[in-house]
């Protein structure tokens, strides 16, 4: 058995066609994918927006707005740790959780200076606070490209939120003042969110001391709340890693690559069976039990397939930097299951009698390409089709080997636990067992009506 295993492996390693399908093809496709999709994730990332603020007396009086500018100029709080306790980002391809500051604030002394920067298109807009303490966004009306449009929208959203919060604060303060029969008062030296500090008028002084103190405390709290809106917002991660637009392609590609290695198993079977090739006939007449020959051959096929896809995985993972959720050991286990499935499937196709080697190879390639389409390998429309099939015909996707391998890595990337992963591994093993059982029926005969 050792001898048969060794020589079958050696013959397969030297079989150029098999290696092209099993190894070279996935590497080339992965490289093409990298060239095509490397910008996808970075395009999803929010970039720091440069903004100019006119640093005049009105601005300096609008303490809340100044505070807002300061907060938005600081690096954002990083995402919450995952439930696994591991850092979600493993330094690979995929969206980052380390967000930079939203705004890059540049203070200028006058409106004229800000206008000059706007005209020179160094910035897409600037903030200026008017005499009533209300900030405004000034933007250029012409010549905006799509990136500038997005930037302008961000800047507008910032100021809209601020003004909405200010209006809310004013309403709350007015009602609070009515409730305690005293005029609202901002803490000494502070400015209200809507503009300059409300004057601490005589009404406040006339109010009873205790209610006035309570009102001041409430207003101070409200002011603090509006200045730091994120303190009541907690970022919770529902998946183990951030959503990535590109990893799905690579996972489907690994499914495609795994199924491509079925060629190796198919070739091995054809060379073992007496009714499929002269070499198979000669081996069947040998003095070694044919089941031993077959098992040794299939083990050699599986090992070669596994090594091929492992190389493809390492290339995608380390050379191209695609994230697999930092679960490499599980990925390797998944690859072993995937190649076992592919070898079994190749064995089944190889065992079909009265069909040429070329026809069997063609069938395998056809099935692989079709299954890859349904697994979403060929772009956004294919991914939509894959999603639709997963919703409307889950049983079909369950028997789609490319989809299953793709799901395997998906579960590792997005799910916290391993239940879904092992469930998919189980599905692959069942698929493998079914293929081998069918192949055994086809190959069960020891004698043939004709060879």
């Amino acid at each position: 058995m050792t001898n048969t295993f060794t020589y079958t492996l050696l013959a397969l390693v030297r079989e150029r066609d098999a290696l092209i399908w099993a190894l070279a093809f996935p590497l080339v496709l992965a490289t093409l994918f990298f060239a095509m999709f490397s910008g996808i994730d970075s395009s999803y990332r929010l970039k720091t927006v440069p903004i100019v603020v006119v640093d005049d007396a009105h601005y300096r009086d609008a303490a809340a707005f100044v505070s807002l500018m300061r907060v938005l100029s600081e690096p954002a709080e990083t995402g919450a740790p995952t439930s696994t306790g591991a850092a979600a980002h493993d330094g690979a391809h995929g969206p980052s959780t380390d967000a930079g500051p939203l705004l890059d604030v540049r203070l200028v002394a006058s409106t004229e200076e800000a206008d000059a920067l706007l005209k020179s298109r160094d910035v897409v807009g600037y903030y200026v606070v008017d005499a009533s303490g209300t900030p405004r966004l000034v933007v250029s009306a012409v010549g905006l490209d799509i990136t500038e449009e997005v930037t302008r929208t961000i800047l507008k959203t910032v100021i809209d939120n601020y003004l909405r919060s200010a209006a809310t604060a004013e309403t709350v303060m007015a009602k609070t003042a009515q409730g305690i029969g005293a005029a609202p008062a901002w803490p000494a030296g502070a400015a209200g969110p809507a503009g300059p500090a409300a004057p601490a008028g005589p009404a406040g002084a006339a109010a009873p001391a205790a209610p006035a103190a309570a009102a001041a405390a409430t207003i101070a709290e409200l002011s603090e709340t509006l200045a730091h809106p994120l303190q009541f917002t907690k970022e919770l991660r529902v998946t183990a890693n951030d959503a990535s637009g590109s990893v799905r392609y690579y996972y489907a590609l690994l499914g495609f690559a795994a199924l491509m290695t079925a060629q190796v198993g198919m070739l091995t079977v054809v060379r073992t069976q007496a009714n499929l090739s002269p070499l198979g006939a000669r081996r069947a007449l040998g003095g070694t039990n044919r089941s031993v020959t077959l098992v040794a051959g299939l083990l050699a096929s599986w090992l070669l397939s596994f090594v091929c896809i492992l190389i493809a995985y390492c290339y995608i993972r380390f050379a191209l930097g695609v994230s697999f959720g930092g679960r490499d050991p599980a990925c390797v286990l998944g690859l072993a299951a995937a190649t076992l499935m592919a070898t079994s499937f190749g064995t089944l196709i190889g065992a079909i009698p009265r069909m040429t080697l070329g026809a069997k190879g063609g069938i395998l390639i056809g099935i692989t390409c079709l299954a890859s389409l349904f697994a979403g390998l060929y772009g956004t429309p294919a991914q939509r089709l894959s999603d639709w099939l997963s919703r409307e015909a889950p049983a079909f996707q369950q028997i789609n080997p490319v989809q299953q391998v793709s799901t395997l890595f998906y579960t590792l990337y997005y799910y916290d636990g391993y239940e879904a992963f092992f469930s998919t591994v189980g599905a692959l093993l069942v698929f493998s067992a079914a293929c081998l059982a069918l192949a055994a029926v086809l190959m069960g005969r020891q004698r043939y009506a004709s060879v």
Partner: protein, 314 residues
């Protein structure tokens, strides 16, 4: 009482749907024989071998090898057999040595013993200078020799050679035939099929002629020639042969047929020891002058054509 035959086939019937490939074929091959299976294309030679080796199913018949019933799982018997198939069946990706070692390992587990056997097989077929080459780098003759080496390396007691010299140059063919005789001299029983009559004639101790799955004749070379009653063929260069002389020649008891084209006289004789002198006596008596005279003894080819007919086959 145990049968001394190495191969014993009784009334073997094999059908491919409506076609009867083997029609009650029976054969016994004794130890140490070189047994020739001769027949036109589709006569059933390869089918017979594949049935004997249990690769093919058959409708009826009994097959024993080495005195024991042969079944598909009799690996103990298979280990005593070598097969050189008609089609070259080797790994294109393995070298000469690796191929021979692989096939030898199907029979011999001991690596040390196998190494010696592989070396001997390489030397036997004269591939010593090509051990590292893969089959695609070998000529047709060398590939055929590799095919043979893969079948004989484990030193089988019984070897089936199915047309091993097809598409082989004369030098390689001679080397192969000499090798087969050497194997036989070392005690191997050989079953040999071929289209080439002179090969079978030169190496086989017993010959079976098959056609359409039926045994037409079986016996030694001389027994087969005697079977069809064909004697020598006489060729005489002579010009202007009178009709009277031709009539007298036809009247000779040993003359089966006669053909004269104005320059050469061809006479086919039946068996007999005085055919040539009888013909020459007639010519001399008629005072006919003649040039060169050729006399050819009957060949296996004559027997084959006599038995299977001269019509073209598929």
């Amino acid at each position: 009482m145990p049968d001394a035959s190495v191969v014993n086939v009784e009334s073997l019937v094999k059908r491919y749907r409506d076609l009867i490939a083997l029609d009650h074929l029976s054969m016994r091959i004794a130890p140490g024989e070189v047994f020739g299976l001769l027949g036109p294309n589709g006569s059933g030679k390869t089918t017979a071998i594949n049935c004997i080796l249990q690769l093919l199913t058959y409708e009826k018949g009994a097959i024993e090898l080495f005195g024991e019933k042969m079944t598909p799982s009799r690996y103990d018997l298979k280990r005593r057999i070598g097969i050189v198939p008609q089609s070259v069946a080797v790994f294109e990706e393995l070298s000469v040595r690796e191929n021979i070692d692989y096939f030898c390992a199907l029979y011999i587990k001991d690596a040390t013993k196998r190494k010696t056997m592989v070396d001997e097989a390489i030397e036997f077929v004269g591939l010593g200078e090509h051990t590292r080459f893969r089959p695609r780098r070998l000529s047709g003759g060398l590939v055929r020799r590799l095919n043979i080496a893969c079948g004989i390396a484990h030193k089988p007691e019984l070897i089936f050679l199915d047309e091993p010299t097809v598409a082989v140059d004369p030098q390689s063919r001679n080397a192969i035939l000499e090798g087969i005789l050497r194997l036989n001299n070392e005690g191997t029983t050989v079953v040999y099929t071929s289209h080439y009559m002179e090969e079978v004639e030169s190496i086989c101790s017993r010959i079976m002629i098959l056609d359409r799955g039926q045994v037409l004749a079986s016996g030694s070379n001389s027994e087969l020639k005697a079977l069809i009653g064909t004697g020598e063929k006489i060729l005489i260069e002579t010009a202007a042969l009178p009709d009277d002389t031709l009539t007298r020649l036809r009247a000779l008891a040993s003359v089966r047929s006669l053909n004269y084209d104005g320059a050469e006289l061809a006479i086919a004789c039946s068996g007999g020891s005085r055919n040539l002198s009888d013909v020459l006596d007639v010519l001399r008596a008629q005072d006919v002058s003649f040039g060169r005279v050729y006399s050819e003894p009957p060949t296996l080819n004559d027997v084959f054509l006599e038995l299977t007919g001269k019509g073209l086959r598929d």
